[in-house]
């Protein structure tokens, strides 16, 4: 079983893990994900690979506590093992080389920019990262992302760090030529609502935009179709064909609705876990 090498609390609800997984580290590419399971009878949940170190044989993931399973993951500490880690799954992000690439990381989505921005910078692209959160304390991995790209733009809703406003407002300014200037490609990773807003921001300017979709998954290998997302009117399996898709083609409304299919059961599981914790 893969051992956790290092953990770090990033915010009260997000945690950073470095995991010993040499085979996955050797083949991982930006945009791919792993499937985790933390206990017998546990769910299989997809988590984006934030980074990988091929020499050390480790991968990095950042997990946000949103439900029972992610809470269980976040209770794990360095030295402990994770029952199942399978990957890397999904296809790598493809961006034509040579342009100005802007990675937009909303909330814990910033994590996925680590390997992506590094790879793009290394191959010579001009790179900008926009990191956004409600306030300064919820911004994550700023110091880690900074050395990996040419420019880093911070945005907070309350103005406690960087630009006061949403990532999309800063992006709109850039498109008009402000700051690091108009990007040729945008890649947005974060909450669905934010990704949809980014898609709307770049649509008129006709800027190539990718979003990293995060549908419900079961197997993560193309076997169930539960992860299907409508892109350009056609059903695509996010775990195989994605998870990154052309933002201007994605049916976000359907994707958001489908993601809530098991909201009731997810609440039930979270409450149960909370009760069990309180009972201890």
């Amino acid at each position: 079983m893969p051992r956790i090498l290092e953990t770090r609390r990033l915010t009260p609800v997000t945690k950073y893990f470095r995991i010993d997984a040499p085979l996955i580290a050797a083949s991982a590419q930006p945009g791919q994900f792993v499937i985790l399971r933390v206990r017998e009878g546990g769910e299989r949940i997809p988590i984006t690979i934030a980074d990988y170190d091929r020499d050390a044989g480790s991968i990095t993931i950042v997990v946000q506590e949103v439900g029972a399973t992610t809470k269980r993951v976040c209770a794990l500490e360095a030295g402990e093992e994770i029952l199942d880690v399978a990957g890397p799954l999904g296809s790598k992000v493809e961006v034509p080389p040579g342009g100005h690439v802007c990675g937009v990381g909303g909330g814990f989505g910033a994590a996925a920019l680590l390997c992506l921005m590094r790879e793009l910078t290394v191959r010579g692209d001009r790179t900008t990262a926009i990191l956004g959160a409600r306030n300064r304390d919820l911004l994550i991995l700023v110091d880690e992302v900074r050395p990996l790209c040419r420019n880093v733009e911070l945005c907070t809703d309350d103005g406690s760090a960087g630009f006061k406003g949403f990532v999309t407002q800063r992006l709109a300014q850039m498109i008009r030529g402000e700051g690091p200037g108009r990007p040729d490609h945008v890649i947005a990773i974060g909450p669905m609502a934010m990704m949809r807003a980014v898609a709307e921001t770049t649509r008129e300017a006709k800027i190539n935009t990718l979003v990293s979709m995060d549908p419900l998954m079961v197997d993560g290998t193309g076997m169930c179709g539960g992860c299907r997302v409508t892109v350009g009117g056609r059903a695509q399996f996010a775990c195989v064909d994605g998870p990154c898709f052309d933002a201007h083609q994605v049916d976000f409304e359907e994707a958001m609705r489908r993601n809530k299919q098991y909201a009731r059961e997810e609440r039930q599981a979270a409450d149960r876990l909370a009760c069990a914790a309180a009972g201890e």
Partner: protein
């Protein structure tokens, strides 16, 4: 001397009303008495054509004779040398179109219940301590991709021939469709686990959570990890959708998703197990193959008030085994024959409320040889349902072929491989089972795995 009785000894089954609400196995299995009674019916033909009907060529009269004279250990040994998964095949094989359809008795009366006897012997064997048979005598390592029927059988055969074998499985537990697809009430996990335990005892190593083509490339297995040959048994796991409007509404899913949530992820234990599944009052399953029967009967067991099959052809063209169909009928499944789904209808929140269909009639046979369904004008109807499960077939998963140079696929996405040996156009790479044939049966996959194992052996240790 064979005893003349025209009818098969019936398989004892649990009462439909009771079993339709739980996941325990439907068939109880023969008792020793039933088995001896049935075994006596075998004519022990000089040229047993039943064996020709068996994809793995079990010496059927021999094992049945052993049962008749009470030599269970002998029967078990005969079975196991030709079929590494007897407890599974005895339960899920469509014997009525294989060995039993060739039985000499069929011309006059009912065939010998070969499948029931196979199951009986395998179950008897499960009550005995494991007899470990293989020892590693060869130094060439073999890798098997996928721990489903063909991979398990191929690995078992290779181990028996003395090779060190490693199976790489993408999911967290081995078994493939036997684990995620076939429900507990038809194939208990304990039986599957026992068969896998036998394989492990013969020295087969199973590594889960490794997706060949992603975690490791197939070429890495050959060039970097020192495997002398690779067998691909990745099955046909990619679910098909109809492409009709409303297919992405909440409450519509593939049979693969439905069954995986329940069989592999144990959604019936939610919230003790973490994966949920939403089963509403009225469930429609589209399709009429074995997977459709599994899904519809599972829906009943998950508490649906009404579970029905919607199929555009008629009962005659249905792909399911006769036994599954009868069990489904007994359990109260409804059948809408000659009914073609046109659209899934939903409410404002995006949940399924109905299935709009059209009545069909049968015309001339089409390319598949089955009568072509033709729409009847003005026959539209709306079935009020809250879940739609699509069991209209699966195709091979493209994950491995997309990432491996040198493999070929046909129009349907199936791997190109020699029918006899399983050899692919790529040197040292063999394939078999559903990945090559498209979705078929457990035993055909087992047969392909077995032949490929022999072909690998022939390639590595040429007989002089």
């Amino acid at each position: 001397m064979p005893v003349k009785r025209t009818e098969k000894t019936r398989m004892p089954a649990r009462e439909a009303r009771v079993r339709a609400r739980d996941f325990q196995e439907v068939n109880r299995g023969y008792t020793t008495f039933h088995a001896a009674f049935e075994a006596e019916r075998c004519l022990r033909c000089q040229e047993p054509i039943c064996v020709d009907g068996c994809p793995v060529k079990i010496p059927i009269p021999d094992f049945i004779h052993a049962v008749a004279i009470g030599d269970m250990a002998g029967a078990a040994k005969i079975l196991r040398t030709s079929n590494p998964l007897p407890a599974i095949c005895g339960r899920v094989c469509p014997q009525e179109i294989q060995c039993e359809s060739e039985c000499s008795m069929v011309k006059r009366c009912e065939s010998v219940a070969i499948g029931h006897l196979e199951r009986f012997v395998a179950d008897w064997e499960r009550t005995r301590p494991l007899a470990v048979m293989a020892a590693t005598t060869r130094k060439e390592k073999i890798a098997v991709i996928g721990a489903g029927p063909s991979g398990l059988v191929c690995a078992g055969e290779l181990a028996r021939l003395g090779y060190p074998v490693t199976i790489y499985e993408a999911l967290h537990a081995p078994g493939g469709v036997l684990r995620y697809g076939i429900p507990e009430f038809r194939l208990p996990k304990a039986v599957l686990d026992w068969e896998i335990g036998v394989l492990k005892a013969t020295g087969v190593e199973i590594v889960c959570n490794v997706i060949i083509g992603k975690t490791l490339a197939l070429d890495e297995l050959l060039d970097k990890h020192g495997y002398a040959a690779v067998f691909i048994g990745t099955g046909a796991g990619l679910p098909q959708f109809l492409g009709i409007p409303g297919e992405n509404l909440n409450g519509v899913m593939s049979a693969n998703e439905f069954l995986t949530r329940i069989n592999l992820m144990r959604a019936y234990e939610f919230p003790e197990a973490d994966t949920p599944v939403r089963v509403s009052k009225r469930v429609a399953v589209i399709g009429a193959g074995n997977t459709a029967m599994d899904a519809v009967r599972t829906a009943l067991r998950m508490g649906a008030d009404e579970a029905s099959i919607v199929y555009r052809r008629s009962e005659k063209e249905m792909g399911a085994r006769v036994e599954e169909y009868h069990h489904a009928l007994e359990e109260g499944v409804k059948f809408h024959w000659l009914t073609n789904p046109l659209e899934v209808v939903g409410n404002a929140e995006g949940w399924v409320t109905g299935l709009r269909c059209q009545r069909m009639k049968l015309g001339e046979p089409d390319a598949s040889g089955r009568a072509r369904p033709i729409p009847i004008v003005g026959s539209e109807l709306l079935l009020p349902v809250d879940n739609v499960i699509l069991a209209i077939g699966t195709t091979p998963n493209p994950l491995l072929t997309r990432t491996t140079a040198g493999l070929l696929t046909n129009k349907k996405g199936c791997l190109v491989a020699d029918e006899q040996t399983g050899q692919t156009p790529k040197a040292r790479v063999f394939a078999g089972g559903d990945a090559v044939t498209g979705a078929a049966t457990v035993i055909l996959a087992a047969g392909a795995g077995k032949r490929a194992a022999q072909a690998i052996h022939d390639a590595l240790a040429p007989r002089r």
